[in-house]
Symmetry: C2
Subunit: 144 residues, 2 copies
């Protein structure tokens, strides 16, 4: 669907009144490189730029990005919220290890899309999107 380069996303942000700060760029770069959802803490671990920023700032940035529709907050079982590019979520599903918490993207094709129409009809809900996550024990944890 839409473009997913950091630059294109920055443009969208600016069109929506957000300012192109260093932290914003850093977050978008990180999200574009990562297929799997990231928590705020993981973001800080994976980017010096973001590690230097106040946690509160990261929360607020994701809040804005979610408002603009660029990222989606997803509810994995861990305590902390995780964020993914909204775009990625549309085409992709994840496996999450119930022991170590690792989250990996699956590359099978999304066959749920067409279900959304039925769900919309049956439930009367609008603006639907879905979230499909598989939970299990990853190979590494299974060996122990």
């Amino acid at each position: 669907m839409s473009v997913r380069t950091p630059d294109a996303l920055i443009s969208t942000c600016r069109e929506n009144g957000l300012r192109a700060t260093k932290s914003l760029r850093a977050i978008l770069d990180l999200l574009c490189e990562n297929d799997a959802p990231l928590s705020i803490q993981q973001c800080a671990e994976q980017s010096t730029e973001l590690a230097a920023a106040d946690t509160v700032t990261l929360y607020r940035l994701f809040e804005r990005l979610e408002g603009v529709g660029i990222v989606r907050r997803i509810g994995l079982h861990e305590r902390a919220a995780h964020y993914v590019l909204a775009d990625a979520l549309r085409h992709r599903h994840f496996v999450c290890c119930t022991r170590c918490g690792k989250v990996e993207p699956l590359d099978h094709h999304c066959t749920i899309g067409h279900l959304e129409e039925h769900v919309a009809e049956d439930s009367g809900y609008t603006n639907l999107y879905h979230e499909l996550v598989f939970y299990g024990v990853c190979p590494a944890c299974g060996r122990n």
Copy 2:
């Protein structure tokens, strides 16, 4: 699959060393009556018995029930965790309103089950189960 009456579940609990306390019965009764996932707070609101119990007790009860495999904790977008009968989750999916947070069960047939085999092969994960949630704006919220 398995039986889902409170009594049957109590038996499973006892086989696993749990004691049949009032709170345990109350939780199982509540879960059996409810198709949708419930948070700890909702449990307390919907049962005088559970409202009287300490919140910590409810956390611990759900922890045990999860350990025994009777309930599953699911990560909706709200801050608080929600719990459903593991059995219900296997056959059922939900719609969740992004505005008011309402969660409703869908009655379409689960077509994901067979995907689990593929996922298992591709990813090497074992003991797979899945969680499919649709998010959107419910009819009531849509009118405002």
